[in-house]
């Protein structure tokens, strides 16, 4: 029996299991660039109208950090710039999670043993998962290109954008395949994969925002943007991406041949023979389970805050003499708003979306503990369901507070050190912490779903993505203003621009509390289900 025997059967099995998620994700991803292209043309019909937007983007470190450099100020170039980074994230993260789902998750749950004992080679599962996900990425890329051409954009650029985003998806599918081989649990595989994505994102973000563009060339997310669709396509950069994907795929393939089923590459370390005296309550258990994530996120955002805070303050004053930019800032922040304040707050507003996921991850732990049967072990001791749920939710609510505080302090520090104005730190901290109620609402949504609709708990991620899409299209003026109101993040005052409105913060906190309470109440009344 060859080591790849049965890959085809497994591939069909994956297609069947994901027959809903694959078309949905593919459709959203493929339509996204086309709708941005249409919006761009509708909003800025002439090149003269587009040019100031491009100039503002090139001068704005926050825009440079999140979306990268504008290579061409035309409709195509601006479309590529708008969707390049977010599209790579949408394609990359979903691809990575899908590959991990069909490799390490299956192995952990023992499904692979069932399959592995059949006529299936040991290297078939990663090959099948990677094969299916990469094929779907290529299909999405092709559809994307066709739809873009349909809007009247040039064929070469359309092809390049589709190819670049498909390659980004395949790259992180391959990262997921390697992570699944190296780690021993699905949680750590996802953790490793997402950390690699965030690291690549930050390398490119710092490179583009600080002008040290060589840094961007150290990240495949930088390569994706540097294919430069609609701006004199550089096909060799796409070839570079393909080579990287091939390298990772070969690595995953070789790793899977060398280890035992269910084992990781690194041998497991022994733990203590007895529990520390403090491990005696559900809360202590919850902290023990979440602390790795909380510490890693806090450290990661501290580094991000320091770099981005410094970059915003250092780069700006000289570059921002265009009247359009000053105009826009004045519109949002008033006549005497400082550009650096505006851009730093803009960055905080973006990062808050990511911080929200840490709270959601912790809240959804309620569901994964329940479905794995670990909740039973605790709940058959004299621990009530409410106490058990609150132990996880306390961490889910306090964790993001710690992350935002770290972000606020370090961003304030970086900003103050570069500008020499140390008095700015408390304001930046307040600006970051202002996002806490919105983050809590997202945590509350996850908690409510886990408590009330356990089988649909993962829909919390759908809501998060939905809010992002509404927000993106809202910025382009394509969304009804009332719909925009449902996004918790849009209600947060921009403290760095002197906005002080405690009312929305109180309302959002109340909403978060109500959602959390509903989740706990739901959990109290229902059967626990695997």
């Amino acid at each position: 029996m060859g080591t790849l025997t049965g890959t085809g059967i497994l591939a069909r099995h994956i297609l069947r299991r994901d027959r809903l998620i694959l078309p949905l994700w593919g459709f959203l991803s493929a339509v996204y660039p086309m709708s941005i292209a249409n919006s761009t043309v509708a909003l800025y019909p002439t090149a003269d109208l587009l040019r100031p937007v491009a100039q503002e983007a090139m001068a704005n470190p926050a825009q440079l950090a999140t979306r990268g450099v504008v290579f061409d100020a035309g409709a195509g170039g601006m479309t590529a710039w708008t969707v390049g980074s977010s599209g790579a994230m949408l394609m990359g993260l979903v691809s990575m999670l899908l590959v991990i789902r069909h490799t390490r998750v299956d192995e952990e749950s023992g499904r692979s043993e069932l399959i592995g004992s059949g006529v299936v080679g040991r290297q078939a599962p990663p090959a099948a998962a990677l094969g299916v996900v990469c094929s779907v990425n290529l299909l999405i890329g092709a559809l994307m290109s066709v739809l873009l051409m349909g809007t009247g954009l040039p064929a070469a650029g359309s092809l390049a954008l589709g190819l670049a985003l498909a390659a980004a998806g395949c790259t992180f599918a391959a990262v997921g395949a390697v992570a699944a081989q190296v780690t021993e649990s699905a949680v750590s595989a996802r953790g490793l994969g997402v950390s690699v994505f965030i690291a690549f994102f930050l390398i490119r973000a710092v490179g583009d925002a600080s002008g040290a563009h060589w840094l961007s060339w150290l990240s495949p997310l930088g390569w994706t943007l540097n294919v430069r669709p609609f701006a004199g396509e550089r096909w060799w950069v796409a070839a570079l991406l393909l080579a990287f994907i091939a390298l990772l795929a070969v690595a995953a393939h070789m790793l899977s041949a060398r280890r035992d089923l269910a084992a990781g590459l690194l041998p497991p370390r022994l733990g203590p023979a007895a529990a520390a005296p403090g491990l005696r309550s559900p809360l202590a258990l919850a902290w023990r389970l979440h602390r790795g994530q909380v510490v890693a996120w806090t450290a990661g955002f501290a580094v991000a805050g320091l770099t981005l805070g410094g970059a915003v303050s250092g780069n700006l004053e000289g570059q921002l003499n265009s009247p359009q930019i000053m105009d826009m800032i004045a519109r949002v922040g008033g006549e005497d708003a400082r550009p650096a304040d505006f851009f730093l707050n803009f960055l905080l507003s973006m990062l808050a979306w990511i911080v929200a996921t840490s709270g959601m991850l912790s809240a959804l732990r309620l569901r994964s503990e329940e479905s794995a049967g670990r909740a039973d072990l605790v709940l058959v001791t004299p621990v009530s369901r409410v106490r058990w749920a609150l132990s996880h939710l306390v961490v889910a609510l306090a964790g993001p507070a710690l992350v935002l505080a770290a972000l606020g302090v370090t961003a304030g520090l970086g900003y103050s050190l570069t500008s020499g104005d140390i008095g700015k730190l408390p304001q930046v901290l307040a600006g970051a912490l202002a996002y806490l109620p919105a983050v809590w609402v997202m945590t509350g949504i996850a908690a409510a779903l886990a408590g009330l609709l356990p089988r649909f708990a993962m829909a919390a991620w759908g809501i998060w993505v939905g809010f992002i899409l509404i927000d993106v299209f809202g910025m382009l003026g394509q969304v009804n203003a009332n719909l925009l109101e449902i996004i918790p993040f849009v209600h947060i005052p921009w403290v760095l621009l002197g906005q002080m409105s405690p009312a929305p913060l109180a309302v959002l906190t109340a909403v978060a509390a109500a959602l959390t309470a509903a989740g706990v109440a739901g959990l109290r009344r229902r059967d626990l289900v695997a």
Binding site: S185, P272, A273, V378, L379, P382
Partner: protein, 305 residues
């Protein structure tokens, strides 16, 4: 004798599946009850209701004198539970899990913990993800046996244990019984139940179809008899209470009802007995008798464990 567990008319449905269909069950205090049935008969559903993890649609259940749903937290102080498929936290060591669960139940006897670890040959330093299935099972067993509780609820606790450990498990249950504890042991390993249990309840399609001591259950069923005689027998046909008679040469085999044993042996002795074996029905015979026949109402077996 008061009852530690008393259940009557319990019904639980999942969608269109009727997992429990009017289940009655009692476990006396200090008794070891074997809860027998194949996968999907409703054993685990019953146990999850008794543990307050699920709520019954109708029927009454009382556990240690309380309501398993409403008084769950208080009742859990007095019981320990071992599931059939233990999942542990991947990053916690076995020792940490044992201590944590023990402390949540109000303390753990360190002496007994050490004895049990040694007896089950369990390395408490390994992380949850590094244990094999059998070792995960041992972690839960040690945590349960080391805690000071009145009632042990064990749901197929020995799945994944090797025969040596299975013997250790039997010793431990016998010890618990000697200390006056009540045990509800759900199993489909008949020898285990036969060795440990005072009484047996057999569940099928969400209902108890047979309950009693092994002696009582055996009394209801036929003994199989094999005899070699001095001469070719005749006149055995048509004896009351004798079934499945077969005669080959001088050799006779048949099944006989308990009330008619003496009549049969009287006749066999008269024919000149040379050799005889009379085997009481095994638990397996009892069990198979209930499961070999068609399902009541012709419905398919429920697929809910």
């Amino acid at each position: 004798m008061t009852n530690a567990i008393s259940v009557s008319g319990l019904v639980k449905t999942f969608g269109r599946t009727r997992a429990l269909d009017g289940l009655d069950l009692t476990v006396g205090t200090g008794e070891v009850l074997g809860f027998l049935g194949p996968n999907g008969a409703g054993k685990s559903t019953t146990i999850r209701i008794l543990l307050g993890l699920m709520r019954a649609d109708s029927g009454k259940a009382s556990l240690l004198g309380g309501d398993p749903w409403a008084d769950a937290t208080d009742l859990h102080r007095r019981l320990a539970y071992v599931p059939g498929d233990v999942t542990l936290w991947p990053t916690l060591s076995g020792g940490e899990v044992i201590d944590l669960l023990g402390r949540l139940r109000g303390g753990i006897d360190p002496q007994r913990r050490a004895t049990l670890l040694e007896r089950f040959e369990l390395d408490p330093r390994k992380k949850g993800r590094a244990y094999s299935k059998g070792n995960r099972q041992k972690v839960a067993l040690v945590a349960a046996f080391a805690s000071d509780v009145e009632l042990l609820i064990l749901d197929e606790p020995t799945s994944g244990l090797d025969p040596l450990m299975e013997a250790v498990f039997r010793d431990s249950v016998a010890e618990e019984k000697a200390r006056g504890r009540t045990v509800l042991l759900s199993s489909h390993i008949l020898s285990e139940v036969e060795a440990l249990c005072d009484r047996v309840s057999i569940i099928r399609a969400g209902r108890i179809v047979e309950t009693g001591t092994l002696a009582e259950l055996r009394h209801l069923t036929r003994t199989s008899v094999t005899a070699e005689l001095a001469q070719t027998p005749d006149g055995l046909n048509g004896l009351p209470g004798v079934h499945d008679l077969s005669v080959v040469g001088n050799k006779v085999t048949c099944q006989v009802e308990p009330a008619h044993l003496d009549a049969l042996f009287g006749r066999l002795t008269a024919l000149g007995l040379r050799n005889v074996t009379a085997a009481p029905p095994t638990l397996e015979d009892l069990f198979m008798r209930h499961y070999r026949t068609a399902q009541p109402g012709g419905q398919r077996r429920n697929q809910v464990a």
